[in-house]
Symmetry: C3
Subunit: 155 residues, 3 copies
Amino acid sequence: MVDLTQLRDDEVFRAFASYATIILSKMMLMSTATAFYRMTRKVFANPEDCATFGKGENAKKYLRTDDRVERVRRAHLNDLENIVPFLGIGLLYSLSGPDLSTAILHFRLFVGARIYHTIAYLTPLPQPNRALGFFVGYGVTLSMAYRLLKSRLYL
Amino acid sequence: MVDLTQLRDDEVFRAFASYATIILSKMMLMSTATAFYRMTRKVFANPEDCATFGKGENAKKYLRTDDRVERVRRAHLNDLENIVPFLGIGLLYSLSGPDLSTAILHFRLFVGARIYHTIAYLTPLPQPNRALGFFVGYGVTLSMAYRLLKSRLYL
Amino acid sequence: MVDLTQLRDDEVFRAFASYATIILSKMMLMSTATAFYRMTRKVFANPEDCATFGKGENAKKYLRTDDRVERVRRAHLNDLENIVPFLGIGLLYSLSGPDLSTAILHFRLFVGARIYHTIAYLTPLPQPNRALGFFVGYGVTLSMAYRLLKSRLYL
């Protein structure tokens, strides 16, 4: 019998798994938001996507860009650029034996900051709201990277 | 002696490792596809990339966009947006002790759906072929997220 | 007491954690580089970002694209496209029990190649400098994928 219960029951790892799953699910919502704005505003990137709105030249007028759609896409790309380092560094940090309450503080701050970033981007709220969300998430990831490298560096 | 054999021999983990490696390798092929179309169609984003085709003004005409290249790039970005959540959620789900046959069903569906999505995007096949590939992969990832959070939530 | 020390003290895993953290931190620097060029060149994507430079029509002139900013953004996206497979495949490869010196050679080559790719992209150096950085990183990731699938395939 394989016994992975040590890993499975580690509290830091369970907390990381929960927060990572939540923030990844939030990121996936951005795809739905893009699709929603594309459908309601009839703004498409591919000819086959607007085939139901007409044939030939008639359909081509829907192949355009739109401020709202581009805004969601930028928010989505910013999520990718920031959640990928959090996933990688956060997983390795979780497995490096950090203090539970410190680790959970990091995860909560990151998830809160990224949700705030998305709200600030899509509303949009005036700056520096979005910048604040960005830099808190950024700082949390760097803090985990620093703690990981300080205690476990092996080159 | 370090002994990681428990993890290494866990069947769910081995299956996840195999399917994740396959779908990531497929995603990497998109870079090659972009490079292929850029070379054969002489469509470049950077002046230094088309320096061999002439100097100065003569080379600048190759700094342009092309429908085919943009299509591959959109397919690549869509892969990134969907494979990153699969990697993160799938890894954590694999370590949470799921039933082997359920887990493998999830992995197979996801990998099949994303390969179908790429074929539908690049051919291109008429909609809703691409949408089908997208939503199956999306649903599989959300199903793993739900199972993970239901059994292991720790906030 | 939970005991994850086996994993924590595994040398290959520690080396992977160190190199992955370094290359992810480098990738995060690209966000800072983009922000730096946006501020110094006054090139923005969102109206709320340039609100301090004037109101209404006066601010709109800063909503533009710029070669330098687009170059950093392409380098950042290329990082994402290549570091995500490295993270996923590299983690699974690290846990599959590879030879320590072979594994470290892979990690060092990848990290070196990606740093070189960034330097070549941002300077910019003439081709094939950037292509070299790209293909070395690409080959290293495929080599890990091949070794992983050869020894651990489970479909």
